[in-house]
Subunit: 423 residues, 2 copies
C-alpha cells in the first residue's frame, strides 16, 4: 500500500463521493457529478485520488446514452477492513467486515461475565489479532475497531458510565485501553445504535427513512437513524428504550427508574417468570440459579415456537410489552420502520415481529399519517458487532475524520495512546 | 418597501447571515465573515443586499481592536412581521411578532368549541385582520401566518388528521383555506413543536442544546429541538408525549393506545378526579358538566398553590405522571433541558417544575452523563402562538424558502390558492 494519507485536502468531498460510489455499487463519473452536485473536473480529480489510493476501481462500461459508453466505478471493497466487537456480560461477537460492510470473518464467545476490564481487554485484543490472522487481513488495511456495548457511556472519552457487569467497569477507559493494547484506533458506541446504522449501511432500508431499532441481548436497547445518521441527543445516550417506564407504580429498577420495560419483557424477566411456573420450569429443566439466562431464555423461546402453551404465553407477554414500548418510540420519534435485532430475537423472532406489528398498527399516534413496518434485522444476532464495524467505516469514509498512513492508524475518534509497556 | 424580491440569488447564504445578525444582536462585518466562514467580499455583498431590502441596518461602531472601530450591524426588527395562531377547542391566541420574535400585539379568545372549520376559519381571519389593523402593521410587511394546533397533521398539505374537535375537521385543509381567505401564506404545524422552537428563537436556550418542550393546554404535546431545528421524524408527527402509555394495562384512549399520559395527568383528568372528591368539588364549586374544564383546572391549580391539601394532592399526582413521561422523553431523546409551556402550566407551574425536576434527577437513564434542567417557558401560555409566528420567520429568514414581493406574499410552505369568491 502506498504511504499516502487516506485523506487528502478534500476529506469531506472525498467522503461524499466514496459514499455515493458505495451506495450505487457501480456508477459513472457523469452520474457521480450529478449526484454529488460537483463539476466534472472536480469529480475526475477526486476519483483519480481515490483510485490511486486503491479505494475505487474501474468496473467495465455502462450503457451508452448516445455517445461512448461511460466507464463505471465501484468500491474496491477489499482495500480496507474494519473490526466490530459487540461486548456485554453474556455475549461477545467479533466480526471483520470489508469496505462494503460485508462480513469476512466472525468469532463469538461468552461475554465478560464477572471479569475485570484489566483481564477482559487483553483477552479481547488477542481474539481480534487471531481473527485478523485467520482471515489473512493485514493490520495495515484495518481502519480501526468499533467496540459496542450498553449505555450509559461517555462516547468521546471511550468509557462506560455504568457499574455493569462489575464496579470495575464504571468509568474504566475501555476504548483508549483497547486502542493501546491493539495499537489501533478504537471507537466506543452504543450497541443498539450500531445495530441500527448497520441496517442502513447494508442497504436494507430506504436512505431517507426515519427508523428505529430495538436491540435485545441481555438487556433491551434502542437506536434511531434519521436519513443515514444515528440520532445522538446531547451525549449519545439516546433511545434507552429498556429503561422507559411501562408502569409508573412498578418496581424499582437498578437504573433508578420504576416499571422499566426490561424488567417485564427482557430475557431475565421471562426466565424469572418461567421459573415461577413449575410445570414449565421442570419440562424445560430450567436452572433455578439462572446464571446463564440467555440460554434458558432461548430454550423458552424454542418451546414457544414448538407450541408449548405456557412458553408461548410468556413470549407473547414479553412481545406485548415490547409492542407497548415500540408504540412509544414510534409516537415520539415518528418512525416509519422498526428493526428487531440481537440474539434474543433470534429464536422466537416471528412471534415478536407479529405481535409488535399488531400493537404498532393499533396504537401508534400517527398511524393515519403513514404505515409503520416491523421487520427483523438482516444481521440478526450479529447486528451490533457488524454495526460497530460499520461505524468505523462511516467515521472514516463518509465523515473523513481520520488519516491512515501505511501500516499505521494515526487517529480515529480517539487519540491512540502509545503503549508504554510491552504487551 | 421596494418591489425587489426578499430573496436574491443566494437564499441560503442570506439566511445564514441574517440568522447570525439576529442571534448576535449587533455584529461587525469582520465577525460575521468569521462566524459564517465566508470571505469579506461575499459578506459585504450579502450585507449590502440585506440593507437595501431594509432587513439590516447599521447601528454605530464597536470597540476598536487596534485600527478604526468597526461598524456594527443589527436586524431591522420592524422591517417584517409574522402572525402566530394557536388554535384548539378550548383556547385560541393570536400574536403578531417582529423580525426579532418580539410580540407587538396579542389577542385571545375561547377556542373553536364545536364550531365547524367553515365557520371558524373566516372568524379567525377576521381576528387576524383586526389585530394587524390595531397594531398598525401593514399587510405588505407580514411574511405569513403560522397556525399551530394538535396532531396528527399532514403538515405539507396543511390539514389535520384528527376528528378533533368535530368530525368536520378531519382532513379539512385548514392551512390552504385560511391562506385563501387571508390572501397570505399560511403554514400549519404542531403547537408543541412551535412552543419548543420559540424558546430557541427568543434566545433563552443554548443554541447547541438538545432540548424538549412539554406543552399542556387542553391536551399534552411535546417537541424536541436539536441544534436549532425541530426534530421532525418521518412526517412531523413526532414527540406525541400525551399519548405514550404509562400503564400497559390502562384504559383505552380515543387515540387507540392504552394508559395514555393525558388521561392521568391532563387538565380534564385532574378535573374528573376532583369531581370525585365531594369536599373539593363543593369547595371550588366545580361544574359537574365539565364543559369549561380549563377554567375548572385553573381553579384547582390555584387552590393547590393556596395550600388546599386535596387540590395539592391532585396537582402533585398530575406532576408525578408528567415526571414519569419527562423521564421517558429524556432517556429516549437524551435531552439536557425540558421547557414547560402552555396555559395549563400557568397557575401551578412551580409545583410542576419542582416535581418533574425531582423525577428527572432520580430516574433519567443518562443522569451520570450530564444534568437535565426543567424550566418554565419564557412565553408561558402564549408559547405556541409565538412559536407559530417564529416558525414563519425561521422558514422565511433562515431557510429562505419564500420570495415576497411588495404587497404580495407569493408562497411560503403552502401554495396560496387564489380566492375565487369575494369574501
Amino acid at each position: 500500500m502506498a504511504a499516502s494519507a487516506l485523506w487528502g485536502s478534500r476529506p469531506k468531498t472525498r467522503g461524499v463521493v466514496l459514499d455515493l460510489i458505495r451506495a450505487a455499487r457501480t456508477i459513472s463519473r457523469v452520474e457521480l457529478a450529478a449526484s454529488a452536485g460537483l463539476t466534472p473536473p472536480t469529480i475526475s480529480e477526486v476519483v483519480r485520488d481515490l483510485m490511486s489510493d486503491g479505494l475505487v476501481v474501474e468496473a467495465g462500461r455502462g450503457a451508452s446514452t448516445g455517445g461512448k459508453p461511460p466507464t463505471l466505478l465501484q468500491l474496491n471493497a477489499l482495500a480496507r477492513y474494519s473490526v466490530g466487537i459487540q461486548l456485554e456480560r453474556n455475549t461477545c461477537v467479533i466480526v471483520v467486515v470489508d469496505l462494503a460492510g460485508r462480513q469476512v470473518a466472525r468469532t463469538s464467545f461468552r461475554g465478560t461475565a464477572q471479569m475485570s476490564p484489566e483481564k477482559a481487554l487483553p483477552f479481547l485484543a488477542a481474539q481480534v489479532n487471531a481473527i485478523l490472522d485467520t482471515a489473512a487481513v493485514g493490520r495495515d488495511r484495518v481502519l480501526g475497531v468499533g467496540l459496542v456495548s450498553y449505555g450509559p457511556q461517555d462516547r468521546h472519552a471511550g468509557l462506560l458510565l455504568t457499574p455493569q457487569p462489575t464496579d470495575a467497569w464504571y468509568e474504566y477507559p475501555v476504548a483508549p485501553r483497547l486502542a493501546e493494547i491493539l495499537r489501533m484506533p478504537v471507537l466506543l458506541d452504543n450497541d443498539a445504535a450500531a445495530a441500527a446504522i448497520g441496517e442502513y449501511w447494508l442497504g436494507t432500508v430506504d436512505p431517507h427513512s426515519t427508523y428505529g431499532c430495538i436491540y435485545m441481548a441481555t438487556g433491551i436497547g434502542g437506536g434511531v437513524v434519521v436519513a443515514g445518521e444515528v440520532y445522538r441527543g446531547s451525549s449519545s445516550n439516546s433511545v434507552e428504550i429498556g429503561h422507559i417506564s411501562l408502569d409508573v407504580d412498578g418496581g424499582e429498577c437498578p437504573c433508578g427508574n420504576r416499571g422499566c420495560l426490561e424488567n417485564y419483557a427482557g430475557p431475565s424477566a421471562v426466565v424469572r417468570q418461567a421459573l415461577e411456573m413449575p410445570g414449565l420450569a421442570d419440562h424445560l429443566a430450567l436452572d433455578p440459579t439462572g446464571t446463564d439466562f440467555l440460554t434458558e431464555f432461548a430454550r423458552i423461546a424454542a418451546a414457544a415456537n414448538a407450541g408449548n402453551l405456557q412458553a408461548r404465553h410468556l413470549i407473547e407477554r414479553s412481545a406485548r410489552y415490547l409492542g407497548c414500548a415500540a408504540v412509544t418510540i414510534t409516537s415520539l420519534f415518528d418512525l416509519d420502520l422498526i428493526v428487531l435485532a440481537g440474539p434474543s430475537f433470534a429464536v422466537a423472532g416471528s412471534i415478536y415481529q407479529t405481535l409488535i406489528q399488531q400493537e404498532v398498527d393499533r396504537r401508534t399516534f400517527a398511524r393515519r399519517a403513514h404505515p409503520v413496518r416491523v421487520v427483523p434485522s438482516v444481521s440478526g444476532s450479529d447486528a451490533a458487532a457488524i454495526g460497530g464495524a460499520v461505524l468505523v467505516l462511516q467515521s472514516e469514509l463518509v465523515l473523513g475524520r481520520a488519516r491512515v498512513a501505511a501500516g499505521k492508524a494515526l487517529s480515529l475518534v480517539l487519540p491512540v495512546v502509545e503503549a508504554t509497556e510491552a504487551t
